[in-house]
């Protein structure tokens, strides 16, 4: 098993400064010290599971920079840099681009200014990139990224605004298994997942609301927010080690464990991870 390397950004400037998804409410502000504590706890669980954490310097005025999952989509040593749909987050692009390039990634731009929000909407399971669209990323952009990288892309329409990124409702565990919340997808999307992912673990609505699907997988360890007991039971039955850590201050902004991380190396669910070709 490869040793995963993960990019995170400390929540120094984190807060609810605007509203760009149904979770956000500027009148329901994050508890800043508590958020810092929750972030550090998550970081600790990931290190304990065997991950190496890289840190991006926080930037004043970019409260959502903590959600590094949206920086880019990593494919081997290539990174397709995000182009955020909302102007409030577009300022993050330059910081992500600079850090990834400095780390040695070949930075590729999103074709034709399509909206594309990185690993928030583009997740490998096996050799296939599953790509969420309609809420934050454009279907046409996904197609062009697929052609650009020569990979199979299966776009999935996200129909519930509470699950505005694919990583809020779908999480690959291995090359042939994933957890998902069926209610976030239309009938076509559910059929595509059923036909292309051999083992699917469905998350019930109440746990999906606790961001059960927004999990970080490190080897056989799966780290989630609290409030997902049924999923954890299913994961244990499937041979995983679930870990829960409170992330409620980030849920206020519409993110949880997965949103706070960008996998740089060692994506277990992606079959290209150990390939030298990409």
């Amino acid at each position: 098993m490869s040793s995963p390397r993960i990019l995170m950004c400390p929540p120094t400037h984190y807060g609810i400064h605007y509203e760009i998804n149904p979770w956000m409410n500027t009148e329901r502000q994050a508890d800043h010290p508590l958020a810092q504590e929750q972030w550090r706890a998550l970081r600790g669980h990931l290190v304990a599971a065997g991950a190496t954490i890289e840190e991006l310097a926080p930037v004043d005025g970019l409260p959502d920079l903590v959600f590094t999952a949206n920086a880019a989509m990593v494919f081997g040593r290539k990174a397709v840099i995000s182009h955020f749909k909302h102007p409030q987050r577009q300022g993050e692009e330059e910081h992500f681009r600079r850090w990834l390039a400095a780390d040695g990634f070949e930075a590729l731009e999103t074709p034709n200014q399509f909206s594309f929000e990185g690993a928030g909407d583009a997740l490998f399971c096996g050799d296939t990139l599953f790509a969420g669209y309609r809420q934050r990323s454009d279907a046409l952009g996904h197609q062009q990224i697929g052609e650009m990288l020569g990979i199979r892309v299966l776009p999935l329409e996200l129909i519930d605004s509470y699950y505005y990124h694919l990583d809020t409702c779908f999480c690959p565990l291995t090359a042939d298994s994933a957890i998902y919340f069926p209610g976030a997808f239309d009938d076509y999307g559910q059929r595509v997942l059923a036909a292309n992912v051999p083992t699917l673990i469905a998350v019930e609505e109440e746990e999906a609301r606790s961001f059960a699907c927004n999990a970080v997988v490190v080897g056989r360890t799966v780290v989630t927010n609290v409030g997902c007991p049924h999923l954890h039971e299913q994961l244990r039955n499937a041979g995983f080690t679930p870990v829960e850590t409170p992330l409620g201050e980030f849920v206020k902004a519409g993110g949880s464990a997965k949103c706070l991380t960008l996998r740089l190396e060692g994506e277990d669910a992606a079959v290209w991870a150990n390939s030298t070709q990409c």
Binding site: D127, A139, L140, H142, Q143, G146, V153, L154, Y188, V192
Partner: protein
């Protein structure tokens, strides 16, 4: 793999708005293609998959080009906006490219060459219907009125804005079903062995309905109409308001006038079928008499000309145009001898024509066929099948041909018209 016209949501349609869209990627496995197609039909539109290419392995993207049809431009745009969310994009994404004509009488290189089919040009994001649809022309755009129309190259003036290339242009091919509306019984262009009675009944119905609906019918006639003794039959149709315009050459008019003045056509007595002494002179004497009068209308006014096709045209207010040719005798003073001027006159006269009957004249039929938009129904009657074939070969594919002798055809046609009148009266 390519298989045009693979799938269609419906075979029947007269949809007002049409746009081609493309969708690519892993559209089969991702169910994007069925989703797009379902989206079109759920929104009340129809589709035809015009082209599809399926990727060979898992990393190969697939591709489909889909024609989307809707009842109105608004409905179409709503459908396209909706399927665009799934990655389907309009093929004709851009406006037409316009280049100013740099000289009189010629288009810029690369100009868009028209067909006779209904055409639209995209300007400022909107599709504009091309006016004066005609084959073998260019399209010029008037910026101020935001209109465009077909224009022959001889008419182009320096500074006119001309459509160049195919981007931002789209053609609406006349569907077989639409062609079949008037002549549904015909499925080949040239009918030599089809039941002529049925065809003639349909032509009569077209003339009858055109008169009833205040639409215009045009006769393009050759001199054989007079030679074969069917002039009086055409006169009946002119008198009764079934023909509103006549295109002919010097020959038809001259033979008709000769018959009226001398009872002969090229010296042959049409009642007896015998040559008349010094009959060959009648032809020139007829022309001379009209030239002395100044015009056919003046000869009718003076009482010199008292019967025949040209007489009925004058008396019944039927517009006629006589095109000259290099072998014309005289010609009659009404004959226009400048070929380009003839095209201009005919072009303006066919604008409101919805039915055209071409009888026994090859080159004139082809010339008029070139000027007509494909939506005008055309029937070409000739003893020689090659006339109809020639028309089709030159793009007037909407022509229905009938290979038969002129006189029996016109006799049967008049009889059918009379039957329709009786039925309508009853």
């Amino acid at each position: 793999m390519s298989n045009p016209g693979l799938v269609s949501s419906s075979q029947k349609s007269t949809f007002a708005a049409v746009e081609d869209v493309e969708v690519r990627g892993h559209i089969i496995d991702s169910l994007i293609l069925p989703k797009v197609l379902d989206g079109i039909t759920a929104a009340g539109g129809e589709f035809t998959i015009k082209d599809v290419a399926i990727g060979h392995d898992r990393s190969d993207p697939s591709f489909a080009r889909i024609e989307v049809r809707a009842a109105s431009e608004e409905a179409l745009q709503a459908i396209i906006a909706q399927i665009a969310d799934h990655g389907a994009v309009a093929v004709h994404g851009g406006d037409a490219r316009l280049v100013e004509a740099d000289m009189d009488g010629a288009f810029p290189e690369g100009f868009y060459s028209t067909t006779n089919q209904r055409t639209e040009i995209r300007l400022g994001g909107h599709w504009i219907e091309v006016g004066d649809q005609e084959m073998d022309c260019g399209v010029i755009v008037d910026d101020r009125s935001i209109t465009c129309r077909c224009l022959p190259m001889t008419e182009v003036k320096r500074g006119m804005k001309v459509v160049v290339g195919h981007v931002g242009t789209r053609v609406f091919p006349l569907e077989r079903q639409e062609q079949g509306h008037a002549f549904g019984f015909m499925n080949s262009a040239v009918s030599t062995e089809k039941p002529k009675g049925v065809v003639i009944r349909e032509i009569a119905r077209q003339l009858f309905e055109n008169r009833r609906d205040a639409k215009k019918s045009l006769l393009v006639g050759g001199p054989a109409i007079v030679h074969t003794g069917s002039g009086p039959l055409v006169c009946e149709l002119l008198r009764d308001g079934y023909l509103h315009k006549l295109f002919a050459g010097n020959a038809l008019a001259t033979h008709d006038i000769e018959q009226s003045l001398f009872g002969t056509s090229l010296g042959v007595n049409l009642n007896e079928g015998t040559s008349v002494d010094a009959g060959h002179e009648h032809h020139l004497r007829s022309i001379n008499r009209i030239r002395r009068a100044g015009s056919i209308a003046a000869a009718v006014e003076a009482g010199t000309l008292r019967s025949g096709i040209m007489y009925e045209c004058i008396k019944n207010g039927v517009q006629f145009h006589l095109s000259g040719s290099i072998r014309d005798d005289g010609p009659l003073p009404d004959v226009v001898t400048d070929a380009l001027e003839c095209q201009r006159i005919m072009r303006s006269m066919v604008k409101d024509v919805s039915f055209c009957l071409m009888v026994a004249t090859t080159l004139h039929s082809v010339a008029v066929g070139n000027l007509l938009p494909a939506v005008v129904k055309v029937v070409c009657v000739d003893i020689n099948p090659s006339t109809v074939i020639k028309l089709n070969d030159r793009g007037s594919f909407q022509t229905v041909g009938l290979v038969t002798d002129v006189e029996p055809f016109l006799r049967a046609l008049v009889a059918e018209v009379r039957k329709l009148e009786q039925q309508a009266g009853a």
